[in-house]
Amino acid sequence: MVLTTPERAEDAAIVRRPRRLRGVWLLVALGVLALAMFASLTIGSRDVDVSDVLAALGGGTDGFAEASVAKRIPRTLLAVVAGAALAVSGAVMQGVTRNPLADPGILGVNMGASLAVVIGISFFGLTAASGYIWLALAGAAIAAVFVYTIGSLGRDGATPLKLALAGAATSAALASFVSAIVIPRGDVSASIRSWQIGGVGGGTFASLEQVAPFLLVGFAICVLSARGLNSLALGDDLAAGLGERVALARGSAALGAVILCGATTAITGPIAFVGLVVPHAVRLIVGVDHRWLIPFSAVAGAILLTIADVVGRIIARPTEIDVGILTALIGAPFFIWIVRRQKIRQL
């Protein structure tokens, strides 16, 4: 089949056009991200101005203003990186499960990581992030497998409803176990509490360094899975017919998603709904091609979390609202909106 006729060439041009626009949008998004990061550095319990920011970025820490900025740098970086990781994780999960409701929080994966970390802190006395990242990954992986197994029992496999229910039930179960462990442990409950809600306030360069290699690996796997995900979207049978190794593609993509959200949760605690909201919003602009969806989600997720963190710092001055709360407050209505839009059969 060769596209030589004039009408076909026109069609080809139409198909190509959005791609160029996509590049433009990506640049726009990166610009917005830069602005958001800047805002994050300037706004807080004490506002600073541009010169202080530039000085702090250059490494100076004279005066309160620059010290404030210096403290915000790792926090901002963490927000960016965590937002990107969670968004990509969500996008990949939605692709792997063909489920519009997939999100590391909803599917209980975050809770699995949390429980593992809590166990590590309470029973093995782990304190450094490096110690419990591996635990978090293990917890995330086990939870993901568990939820998927339960959700796919029965004739129709893993429908969105069954998966979401399995995830919600598993989250509830794991949260109960977390409570059961934490409550009697006065010694650790203070540190666990602040982490449990899910926030980027605890970001330090040290923790970022430790988590960076995991995130890099996770991102790489996800980006490389993009083509496989495009095929999987057509259905297992069709994908296999197109020559895709379905189990391998699905398994590796899922691994990437689990690494990303497990590693993130190890540092920030469970933050839900980013992985749900961002890919849906991004799909409206970029379409369903995962090769564009994944990078775009990364940038959009970074923007979302950074801005959410800034908002959390502004609304409740002088205290702050943790990002996990805000994403739930924004994300849940979005989740509801998605559920409403779906036809019943699809659920």
Partner: protein
């Protein structure tokens, strides 16, 4: 199988006019009574168990009091030591346990029956979370008194019920959509609760536990009175609708064909259930999973065919009593009742989902 030719019967008289017919009717009646016997036996056993655990929880603790001591305290005499421990500490706690358990049991099974789905329990679809968020807000931020807190809670509970219903209405309410939306609303409300609690002067784990999973610590009579009033007023209203509620299990159309005013029944029943749940939540917090578990457990004990309202209430009371007792004394440290029910209930929820998925049932 060919159908037998019809005897020219008019409603009832012909069957009872001859011996064979009378024997048939008797046999039908006997089987019905036999089925009813299991129900009655189970309910009596449950009620006795509730009383037994109640008395036990008054007797047992760091100090052990004999039943005689307990009796003296209950009838108002002054017994050194016991009057305080039993009368002031254990009695209100145990009473609240029963009252809240009854409310959760009633409210949970009502929703599950009305919406024909065990997952449509008020603690899963956000109503408990709403009442709890409102109560936490009223106590922590506004520092209201107990009656006002209850009022807040019931308004919030009703508002959430309305919200979830409205959001899931698209030419009718599909169960699956309702449950998912309820879960979403619950997640939102839980994070709101966390926000309210973290905004308090200092992070009080006790307070947080109470409002996120439910706890009977520090139970006091002013808290309990509204719950008892709710039971006394709303309970009978709900029980009066019990037959109509059972009939709606057959489907809205069939129930309407049998003369049930479906919309009215639904409204009355849901408002009373939300009321019961909200009042109980305002006093004890959203004791995790009691509303969800009571109905299915009662159904397994009592068998199919009859109204589950009273059995479920009794199971609820028993669950809360036992869980609280266990939380205080069975483990190394003290756990609030919500954590115990959460740890027990969540796996059961998962098992329910597994079983339902395996048998291909629809949720």
């Amino acid at each position: 199988m060919t159908s037998s030719a019809l005897r020219p019967t008019s409603p009832t008289s012909d069957l009872t006019s001859d011996a064979a017919g009378r024997r048939l009717v008797d046999e039908i009646a006997r089987n019905r009574i036999r089925r009813g016997r299991r129900r009655r036996t189970v309910m009596i056993v449950l009620a006795l168990a509730v009383v037994a655990v109640f008395v036990l929880s008054l007797m047992v603790g760091q100090t052990f009091y004999t039943p005689l001591d307990v009796w003296h305290v209950l009838i108002g005499e002054q017994v050194p030591g016991a009057s305080f421990t039993v009368g002031r500490l254990r009695l209100p706690r145990a009473t609240l346990a029963i009252a809240a358990g009854l409310c959760f049991g009633l409210g949970g099974v009502t929703f599950q029956t009305m919406l024909r789905n065990p997952l449509a329990s008020p603690d899963i679809i956000g109503i408990s979370a709403g009442a709890s968020a409102a109560a936490a807000f009223a106590i922590v931020t506004l520092s209201l008194d107990d009656a006002q807190v209850s009022a807040f809670a019931i308004v919030a509970g009703l508002a959430v019920a309305l919200l979830v219903y409205a959001l899931s209405y698209r030419g009718g309410v599909a169960g699956t959509r309702l449950i998912l939306i309820g879960i979403g609303v619950a997640a939102m409300l839980e994070s709101l609760t966390t926000w309210v609690l973290s905004g308090a002067a200092q992070w009080d784990l006790q307070e947080a536990t109470r409002w996120l999973t439910g706890s009977l610590n520090g139970a006091s009579w002013p808290q309990i009175i509204p719950v008892l009033i709710a039971l006394a007023v709303l309970g009978p209203v709900l029980l009066a609708r019990s037959r109509d509620l059972s009939t709606t299990q057959l489907g809205d159309d069939t129930a309407a064909a049998l003369g049930v005013r479906v919309n009215l029944t639904r409204l009355v029943v849901i408002v009373t259930a939300v009321g019961l749940i909200s009042f109980a939540t305002a006093a004890a917090g959203p004791i995790a999973f009691v509303a969800f578990l009571s109905g299915p457990i009662a159904a397994r004990l009592v068998g199919p065919g009859g109204s589950l309202l009273i059995p479920s209430a009794l199971v609820g009371a028993l669950l809360v009593l036992v869980a609280d007792f266990a939380g205080q004394y069975a483990f190394g440290s003290r756990f609030p009742v919500g954590v115990v029910t959460g740890v027990l209930g969540a796996p059961y929820l998962i098992w329910l989902i597994i079983r339902s998925n395996r048998s291909g049932g629809s949720l």
